[in-house]
Every structure is written in structure tokens, then in C-alpha cells.
Amino acid sequence: MSSATLVPPARPVSNHWWQSRTARRFARHHLAMLGVFMIVILTLACVFGPYLLPYDELYIDLRARFAPPLTGYHIFGTDPLGRDIAARLFNAGRISLLVGFFAMLLSTAIGTVIGVTAGYYGGRVGAALMRFVDAFLSFPSIFLLLALAAFIKPSPFMITVIIAVTSWMEIARIVEAEVRSLRERDFVLAARMLGLSNSRIMFRELLPNAIGPIIVAATLTVARAILLEAYVSFLGYGIQPPLPSWGNMLNGAQQYLDKAPWLAIVPGIAITLAVTSFNFIGDGLRDALDARSDLH
């Protein structure tokens, strides 16, 4: 068979996800693209940065205490023990970003299961579950987070779990509303007539139709989780030293504010950059998916 006579098969215009309308709309969103760009840079810096720096994040050099930024190879200066802040910042970023990411996965999972269940069954079960969500929302999340962190021995894993446990409610609300509006549609009736099980209808038929708002909420949850980790670690109940995180790098910064302001400024900028980026991406996704949300 000669290849010259072969007619290329007709392909639909948007065959790949990156050619879809949603993806193109997202790519046109300047702030979202800026967010993606900053997250990529931050992630690359945190993954490869520590290998490129001449200092270890735990290397103590008492002769080089409180070196301001750009002293020798200390691009961001040193801390009260003479440890290199850049090395600590990048290693801390690994922890903070991982905690944020996994807390998002876990809280999205919890929120989705509760939201789908409440929305699908409705009635008393749904009402009871949603009142439970309301009750959780009545606690200021930092109070709940700190109380849990004080009672449970904190490790990166437990901090992730605790953050997830205190931030799944928004997603549950969004999913519940979405599923409730889809529940009476014809395709659900058809699935029921086919005799599909409840769990199959919930997770294979309903959930894929609610994926847009979930993705948006999940992105914003990463931002929120990074912030929450910073709050508890700053207050001393999150990630414990010597393991650095962006929050606990700021923990001792206040007492040296006059002498060494860079101790506070550098990690704070890293947190703000990461959180802003995820918020920008979430905003762009919302516009691209046209997921109407009553928030913001």
C-alpha cells in the first residue's frame, strides 16, 4: 500500500483538551496565565533550588548570623543561627506546597462525597448533612485548626489532615447545590431505569457533570490551605522546626523585626506569591468554565 494515496482521516476540530474552547478562554485570561507562570517558577525553584545553592538548609554558621540579603552567596541573607534563608525558603516551599496540594485533594474528596450524598438523596439525609456543614462553618477555622493541632501531635501528615478537616465545607456546599440541580434531569432518570446503583449514578453520572465548579473550588482551596498552614505554623502549632515551612520561618521573625527585617519579608512574599497565583488561576478557571458562583 502506498502512503501517497492514503487520505488522512477527518478529525474533529477540537480533538485535544488544549484546543477546547475552555482551554483557549483560560489562555486568554492574563491574570490566570500570570498565576500559572508564577507557580511553575516557584515549583521549579523549590524542586531544583536546593541543589543549586552552596548551602544546606540546616547548616549552621554562627559567624554569618543576621547577614543581610546579597551577602556573598547568601542571596536572601541568613537567619539568627546563620542558616542560609534561600536554602530554607526553597525547602520550606516543598513542604508548604505539598501540604497545600494534599490538603486540597483530601478536602475535595471529603467535600465531594458529602456534597454528592446530600444533593442526591436530598430530603432528611441531605438536610441533616447540610446542617452539619453549617455547624462546621460556625467555627472560625483558625480556632478549630489550632485546637486540633494542640491536641494532636503535629507532623506534616497530621497538619495536612487537620487543614483538610477544617476546609471541606465550601466544596460540599458547591457540589450539593450542583447535584441537587442535576438530580431531576433526564439522564439521571435514564440511568435509574437502566437499574444502575445509587453510587454509580452519583459518581459516574452526576459527578462528571459537576466537575467544573469542583475544579474551581479545589484551586481556591489550595490557596486557602497554603494560607492556613502559614497561619498555624507562624503561631507555632504547625510544621515543627527544624523542618522549615514558609509559616514557621516567620515564627521567630517578629522579635528580630528591627534588626533583620528580611527574616519576615522574604517568606511572606513567597506565601503571598503562591496564594495570589492560585487565586488568579482559580479566577481564570471560573471565567473559562463559566461556572457561575455566588462567591466574589
Binding site: 452539619f132 460556625s138 467555627f139 480556632f143 497561619y231 503571598t272 466574589h296
Partner: protein, 316 residues
């Protein structure tokens, strides 16, 4: 109105019950439960621990313990602090004023600024001001409150020396002016996030109202833009904001905790952190429950106020 009031009260009671269950669950998460502080006492034996457990009623089934705990809670017996044996409710009451002062000032500030930004953004939609406000709000929501506080202290207290770096008053002074000077920085720092939230919602609410028929009528009868805004738009746009103020309460309370820590403000947040440092579980639990109840009451008040102002809800 009466029926609405009753149904809303009933909902709040149900929520209060659920909140107490969550609180009780958290309390029992402590390793060793409420007994943990006795276990640390030197020379403590297992028999002595068991005896204390019996005295405190900890050998009973959990549901009974829960009901007992709830019963005492409702009677105002919130236990005593491990630190100084003072009743928990009294300790919280002693720190309430400072927190309410901070939250009140900050909320008033953020409502004033947020409302202005929101209305201006909505009336000049897609202008440079609107765009800056939108991006600014997203950045403001991303800045950790405590870090903003540290930067503010560095600039205004340490470098410019315009404002005090912390505390609620100068010892030996305590005049109203002195309180006011100490209040400026923490309330502005706490307001930042809320200005962002408030301006976003206010912009949406104003846009909703501006597109309504009665606004077009007001314009058609020849009212100036300013008069239309003042008389017809702002009032209606502020209605949903009452509910929002209630919903924002947990965030403001949480923000107050962090702000109080940075500015050594002697309020509930500061008390919470001090109690954490001492493993003072009764006070920690008390504050957790108290803040949730405060939020429930706040939401209830907000809803009742909306119903009072807006006959559509009261009668509908």
C-alpha cells in the same frame, strides 16, 4: 414576622446542638482525653488517675458524658481554668471587650471603605479603577494577615515611629486618645481582608440593583446620578450586605486571633494562644464554643435585621 422569628430561632438551636457535638468530639480527641493534664503530674499513678476519672465521671458512656457536659454548659458552668482555677466564662468575659473593640472598629472601617470601592467599581465598570480594585482585592485576600501586620509594624512603628507597635494602651495613660492610637494599626490590618471581600460583594450587589427597572425609572424622571445612587441604589445594594456581615463573622474572629497575637492585643485570640501554650483545655474548649456561639448569634441577628428592614422576607 413572629413565624419567621420562631423558625429562625429553631434553626439556630439545632445548629447550636450540632456545634456542641463537634466541640465535644474535639475535646475528646486530646490524647488521654480531659485527663491528660493530670497524667503529667509527677508521681501520678494509674490508680490515682482512675480515681480522678471516676470523680470527673469519665468512666461513664460517652453519650452520658456529652449530655452532662452540655447541661453544665447551658447552665453557664464552663469549667475552671487549669492555670488559675478561675471560671472559664469569667476569663472569657474579661477578654471580650478588647476583641469586640478591635472587631467593631475594623468592621466599621472595612464596611465604609469596601462599600465606597464597590459602588465606585460598579458605576465605573471596566475602568482602570475597577480593574485595579478587582486585582487588588484578590491580592489582599492572599496576603497573610499576620505578615501584613509585621510589615505594618516595621514601617509605621519601627521606622517612621508614628504608631505604637502593640498593646491596647500605654501603662499609666489609658486616655481615649491613647486607646485610639493603639487601635489604628491592628484594626487597619484586620480590615484589609474584609475590605477586599466587602468591595467585591458590594460591586456585584450594586450592579444587580443598577440594572433594575426602578433605577431606570428614577433616571428617567430626571434625577441626577448622585441622587439616584444615594436614594435608590445604595440602600438596596446594602441589604444583602447585612447577611454577608453575619457570614463574615467567623473570618473576622479568626483574623482577630492572628492580629491580636501580632499586636499583643489583650483579647480572646491572645487568650486562646496563651491557653494553648499552657495546655489549658477548659479555656481552649470554652473559647472554641464561645466563638461558635458568637457566630450563631451574629448570623441570627443579621437575618432578623434583614427581615426587619425588608418586608419581602418577613412576609414572603
Amino acid at each position: 414576622m413572629m413565624r419567621y422569628l420562631m423558625s429562625r430561632l429553631w434553626q439556630s438551636l439545632v445548629l447550636l446542638l450540632l456545634v456542641s457535638m463537634i466541640g465535644f468530639a474535639v475535646l475528646n480527641l486530646a490524647p488521654g482525653g480531659p485527663l491528660s493534664q493530670y497524667a503529667l503530674t509527677p508521681g501520678m499513678t494509674q490508680e490515682a488517675l482512675d480515681r480522678i476519672a471516676r470523680q470527673m465521671g469519665l468512666d461513664r458512656p460517652l453519650p452520658i458524658q456529652y449530655l452532662d457536659w452540655l447541661w453544665h454548659l447551658l447552665q453557664g458552668d464552663w469549667g475552671r481554668s487549669y492555670r488559675d482555677s478561675q471560671p472559664v466564662l469569667g476569663i472569657i468575659g474579661g477578654h471580650l471587650f478588647a476583641t469586640l473593640l478591635l472587631m467593631g472598629t475594623s468592621t466599621a472601617l472595612s464596611i465604609a471603605i469596601g462599600t465606597w470601592i464597590g459602588i465606585k467599581g460598579a458605576t465605573k465598570r471596566y475602568s482602570i479603577f475597577d480593574y485595579t480594585a478587582t486585582v487588588g482585592a484578590m491580592v489582599a485576600l492572599s496576603i497573610p494577615t499576620f505578615w501584613f501586620g509585621l510589615v505594618a509594624i516595621y514601617v509605621f512603628a519601627l521606622k517612621l515611629k508614628w504608631l505604637p507597635a502593640g498593646n491596647m494602651y500605654t501603662i499609666g495613660d489609658g486616655s481615649i486618645g491613647d486607646y485610639a492610637i493603639h487601635l489604628i494599626m491592628p484594626s487597619v490590618v484586620l480590615a484589609l481582608v474584609n475590605v477586599a471581600v466587602w468591595s467585591r460583594y458590594m460591586r456585584t450587589a450594586t450592579l444587580d440593583v443598577i440594572n433594575q427597572d426602578f433605577v431606570r425609572t428614577a433616571r428617567a424622571k430626571g434625577l441626577s446620578q448622585r441622587r439616584v445612587l444615594m436614594k435608590h441604589v445604595i440602600g438596596n445594594a446594602l441589604l444583602p450586605m447585612i447577611t454577608l456581615a453575619g457570614l463574615q463573622l467567623p473570618t473576622i474572629l479568626g483574623g482577630a486571633l492572628v492580629t491580636e497575637t501580632v499586636f499583643t492585643w489583650p483579647g480572646m485570640g491572645r487568650l486562646f494562644l496563651d491557653s494553648l501554650g499552657y495546655n489549658d483545655y477548659p479555656v481552649i474548649m470554652g473559647l472554641l464554643m464561645f466563638s461558635a456561639i458568637l457566630v450563631l448569634i451574629g448570623n441570627l441577628c443579621a437575618d432578623l435585621l434583614v427581615a426587619f428592614v425588608d418586608p419581602r422576607i418577613r412576609l414572603g
